[in-house]
């Protein structure tokens, strides 16, 4: 044990993590509460999970959210990766300043403004608000996050590998698919996951850009919460937290294992 791990440091770490995790734990615990009153414990029960799954409105919203998330995360990952390539590979092109500005601005833009401005665009274009408009809105702000994530990986990327492939007769597309993409794959995956969770999470932008029949889960939760806390919402939240948490943990463990394997392969290659 090192000297710096003092009681004070231990206490602040323990208290800090207690603060971060106790509210979520309470939420999950009370989703198993028998009573309708969220604050009084009346015994263990899974009835609210059953009720949540029987609630058609909630299930429809969940389905809409998953569809929106899958489509928008995938398109955003493609566009974001291309944008990152453009930023890292092309130091000079016409309008680069505007381009990088448009990549970074949405990261700090208040959600109410992004939501409002996209809605006004859709009105100006005469588009009806619905699932498509939510997807377009989500792609736009999450692609910028993907671009930043992928960009950080591309900066440390050794271009000579790609050049070697080109010298050996690969087409640029083939060199990209076989050399560049596998190397930046971890950050592309991380970008996709980030885009997916951003979409899953978004309330404000969806609120502005969604229309009838395209209520997302956060919108549904928000409108129910305004009426009061219900154990059904607790149950749906607990499922979401568990799904996202296990997704993140599995993904980071897989990435770590790949990294270890890659390092080992590189060591072997160096010895050979």
């Amino acid at each position: 044990m090192n000297k710096s791990w003092t009681p004070f440091n231990i206490t602040s770490v323990v208290l800090g993590f207690a603060f971060l995790y106790i509210p979520i734990l309470i939420l999950i615990i009370y989703s198993f509460n028998e009573s309708r009153l969220v604050t009084v414990w009346a015994g263990f029960s899974t009835q609210w999970y059953v009720k949540a799954f029987e609630n058609e409105g909630l299930m429809n919203a969940a389905w809409v959210t998953i569809q929106v998330g899958l489509v928008s995360a995938t398109v955003a990952t493609v566009l974001g990766t291309l944008a990152a390539l453009a930023l890292v590979r092309h130091n000079v092109f016409r309008g680069r300043f505007l381009f990088s500005g448009m990549i970074y601005a949405p990261l700090v833009m208040p959600e109410v403004i992004t939501g409002l401005s996209l809605l006004l665009l859709f009105v100006a274009l005469g588009m009806d608000r619905g699932m498509l408009t939510v997807v377009l809105a989500h792609i736009t702000f999450s692609m910028c996050f993907v671009a930043v994530v992928v960009q950080s990986r591309l900066i440390g990327f050794d271009r000579s590998l790609e050049e070697a492939a080109l010298d050996l007769g690969a087409t640029p597309a083939k060199a990209f698919m076989q050399i560049t993409l596998p190397i930046i794959a971890p950050s592309v995956c991380a970008g996709w996951m980030l885009a997916f969770t951003l979409s899953l999470d978004d309330l404000v932008i969806a609120q502005f850009n969604s229309g009838p029949g395209a209520t997302t889960l956060p919108m549904k939760i928000f409108s129910q919460v305004r009426l009061g806390v219900t154990p059904e919402i607790n149950a749906i939240c607990a499922i979401l937290v568990a799904a996202v948490a296990s997704g993140v943990v599995i993904a980071s463990l897989t990435l770590k294992r790949q990294e270890v394997r890659r390092l080992r392969a590189e060591q072997l290659a160096a010895q050979a």
Binding site: F8, V13, F17, T39, P110, E111, V204, V225, V241
Partner: protein, 303 residues
């Protein structure tokens, strides 16, 4: 022809995302700017001039000549708006300070933890950031309610004799902001504190500094870049926050994100909400520029 096609494909890394952002980021933004100069009308869409792209230059000019700063004057005259801006800035500043107060010891403790634990601790800080923002705010409603768990706990301890009203006050908003944005504060602080050279502290104690003196003379000044980055990362998004004030705040909680939302959805005044948005952006540009500059400085110092 084929070569033109090929170069188009090769350049697609630039023009595909570029065009997307021009259509879905820049154009909407220009529409907001334009609308902020229009006047509300009882029509569909509810503003004039409507400015149709297909009207051509003469039509555009006719519309542009109708622009007015009416909304901006209206905003400065109605105290609701400037009170909302001021109180947003105040709430953001106070909660940034509180986040620093809680985040610093946590980041400091993490950076001093046994080396083997640090990646796990780091992941535990990031994990809540991946779970839904809305859910994390929602979790606090059950805790802060009048008959909620915090009041039950305090009553049980005997610290209070009757339940406190916390939910729907500014206190609840502070709690919600500190809780939601804590990872943004801890991550840059941890990155900084973890890199610090430990031998400096040892030298200080060898020369007779108490641990507390050593902290204030060495660790704290050296951690300034992390403190600044963390504070900006919390402050900037908090100013325009909507979810936290509308779920945890009460009628006394004026925040501009919420005012804008209500202006749009309840009053259906699109031009005024656009002007509110433009002013909010103008206010935010200052801290964003400062943040960019301090980041650039920090990067240069590292070289």
């Amino acid at each position: 022809m084929k070569s033109v096609f090929r170069s188009l494909v090769a350049k697609s890394t630039i023009w595909l995302p570029y065009i997307w952002l021009l259509i879905f980021f820049l154009a909407p933004f220009l529409i907001v700017a334009k609308l902020s100069l229009s006047e509300p009308a009882i029509a569909q869409p509810p503003y004039t001039p409507t400015m149709n792209f297909w009207d051509g230059p003469i039509g555009w000019w006719r519309d542009i000549s109708q622009f007015s700063f009416y909304n901006f004057i209206f905003i400065t005259e109605d105290s609701l708006y400037w009170k909302s801006y001021l109180s947003s800035l105040q709430i953001a500043a106070i909660s940034t300070f509180l986040t620093l107060l809680i985040g610093y010891p946590l980041a400091h403790g993490m950076a001093r933890a046994p080396r083997a634990w640090r990646p796990t601790l780091l992941m535990l800080v990031i994990l809540p950031f991946w779970t839904s923002f809305l859910i994390r705010v929602y979790a606090w409603i059950g805790i802060l309610k009048k008959e909620g768990l915090l009041n039950q706990f305090l009553l049980w301890l005997g610290l209070i004799s009757e339940p406190l009203t916390i939910l729907n006050t500014n206190t609840a908003v502070y709690v919600g902001i500190v809780y939601s944005y804590l990872p943004f504060m801890v991550l840059p602080l941890y990155a900084n504190l973890e890199k610090q050279d430990f031998s400096l502290l040892e030298a200080a104690t060898d020369l007779g500094c108490t641990p507390r003196q050593a902290f204030w003379k060495i660790t704290w000044p050296l951690s300034m870049p992390g403190v600044i980055a963390g504070c900006f990362l919390v402050f900037i998004p908090t100013v325009g926050e909507f979810v936290i004030p509308s779920l945890l705040g009460g009628s006394e909680t004026l925040m501009i994100g919420r005012t804008l939302y209500d202006e749009f959805f309840q009053n259906r005044d699109w031009p005024v909400s656009s002007s509110v948005a433009i002013i909010l952006l103008l206010i935010l540009i200052v801290p964003i520029m400062l943040f960019q500059r301090s980041e650039a400085l920090a990067r240069e110092r590292e070289r």
